[in-house]
Subunit: 308 residues, 2 copies
């Protein structure tokens, strides 16, 4: 077997160090090559981290498309061929269809194949896959975009982004190390936590903002008042940016993290109910507290980020 090498650079104490290592993965297989899968492919190839990057796609047009973007070395509609011989398999399909897909590909994996995914919700995936795949580690690179599809893939998508990994007590420690090192090599900051904590947190930090601004769009643009269009400005546009995300992806997220999202909505509903009571009562101190709290919390949070 021909051993390949790849190099990375590190800037330390004013000196640029070139670090040369052997290729870590003879073959990486991306199951699904959209925005995230395509970006993994580009990032891996730019860093020379794999002997070969193979993409499994469902539609014949996708074969051409993901070869054209340079995200993979080969693309195929044959799942068996795609995963056979892979040292790392990354599931980049919607969470809803992952279990069925894994049943199909499992017979073709080697005993030492490490598997991860890029799904936005983790508990359902981890609980379904861990019993059947001992070397599975859940991942969630947090660097989505409103733009879907391999055409928008970028090799630097993971640089500086947080990436959650969700091993359990049962997870093979070498698989955890492999997956952690993989995301690190792509420039991400890896955070390890339980799948349940992950889902409860992203319900609040990511899914809640999304459903809230979608509700806003549906309540305002969906039930318009006469003459209102001229009053929808940049504030409304910027606030509702997330609502333009893929409905299929978000329906999938909503179904797989339903209870945590429903709970997180309660928190906002409580705030809104208190605010409505203060509005009806013209309660100046409650209203001042509501707006002052929001401003201070957000500004302090952003100041904290700048310091990091």
């Amino acid at each position: 077997m021909c051993v390949k090498w790849f190099s990375t650079f590190r800037f330390e104490n004013g000196v640029l160090h070139r670090i040369i290592r052997p290729v870590e993965f003879p073959k990486i297989t991306l199951v699904g090559v959209g925005l995230l899968g395509g970006s993994v492919g580009l990032a891996v190839k730019q860093r020379g981290m794999a002997g070969q990057v193979t993409g499994y796609v469902r539609r014949v047009e996708s074969v051409e498309e993901c070869l054209a973007t340079g995200a993979v070395d080969e693309a195929t509609q044959d799942l068996e061929a795609a995963v056979t011989g892979a040292s790392l398999v990354i599931l980049c399909t919607p969470v809803g269809g992952m279990v069925e897909l894994v049943e199909q590909l499992k017979p073709h994996l080697s005993v030492d194949t490490v598997i991860t995914d890029v799904g936005s919700v983790k508990a359902s995936v981890v609980h379904a896959l861990e019993p059947v795949l001992p070397r599975f580690v859940g991942s969630h690179p947090m660097c989505g975009s409103e733009k879907a599809g391999v055409a928008h893939a970028r090799g630097d998508l993971f640089e500086g982004a947080a990436c959650a990994i969700t091993p359990t007590n049962q997870t093979d420690p070498t698989a955890v190390e492999t997956v952690s090192n993989f995301w690190n090599a792509l420039g991400s900051n890896v955070i390890s936590l339980t799948a349940e904590d992950h889902d409860a947190i992203v319900a609040r930090t990511s899914h809640l903002p999304h459903v809230l601004v979608t509700a806003l769009v549906n309540a305002v643009i969906g039930q318009p008042r006469e003459g209102e269009a001229e009053f929808l400005g940049t504030g409304f546009r910027d606030t509702t940016r997330l609502a333009s995300g893929s409905p299929n992806l978000w329906c999938d997220i909503a179904l797989t993290n339903a209870e945590a999202i429903a709970d997180s909505i309660d928190g906002v509903q409580n705030e809104l109910q208190k605010l409505q009571a203060a509005l009806h009562a013209r309660d100046v101190s409650q209203l001042e507290a509501f707006f002052a709290k929001g401003q201070t919390l957000r500004d302090d949070w952003l100041k904290g980020l700048e310091k990091d």
Copy 2:
């Protein structure tokens, strides 16, 4: 009296036309010189639209500050001196204190002085001021910013922005024409509607997004889960941008448009309650409809804007 002239430019059929007109306002008085007042001052002076721009300010430090920015020709803490001889008075103070201020300045106005304001809420101001000021016309230039204060004033702030004016059946038609022409000359698109319609509309298009993202910040950052900070990313930051607006300004808006804002919250709460029910029931078609509706409504709205 020395008649001054000012010129504007219009590009039509490939030819640049210079239009020279006499100065329209011998003296314009800005009552309050913050972001909006200061921007009116800069815009008026850049266009040579006034013989003199005078600013009334409360604090002695503000005199220096608004002279330094060039937003006014003279700044004073003497309300009588500020408004005496003014052909146009623009109230640029918070809505809450406007009525008291008008009682103080009214005895010093000429019979033909036209008065307007820049408040974000109109019905309370119009109802309070119109009976005592026959030449009052409510205005709302919609071009705020999270940045407050005269230091952030910009002469181009009103260019391309919508500006609502809210005359009633009782309003002097020449005053309406004067105020409408004034905002037009500053580059705004003037929209005339009733104060009640204005307030109901901005409750939905402007105040609702603001209170919603403030509620989001209070519910998430204000009641944090352990380990959550690392998961607050650019989506949360961008979605909640409005929450960093001035609490004083927003408390003022909330108090003066309380019922319309409370009503608008109902619309979002209905959407959220339906969504919670669909989440608990794992109702795929309801969830798909919720996200698809939000995406389509927003994207179609933005496409419509591009065509304009």
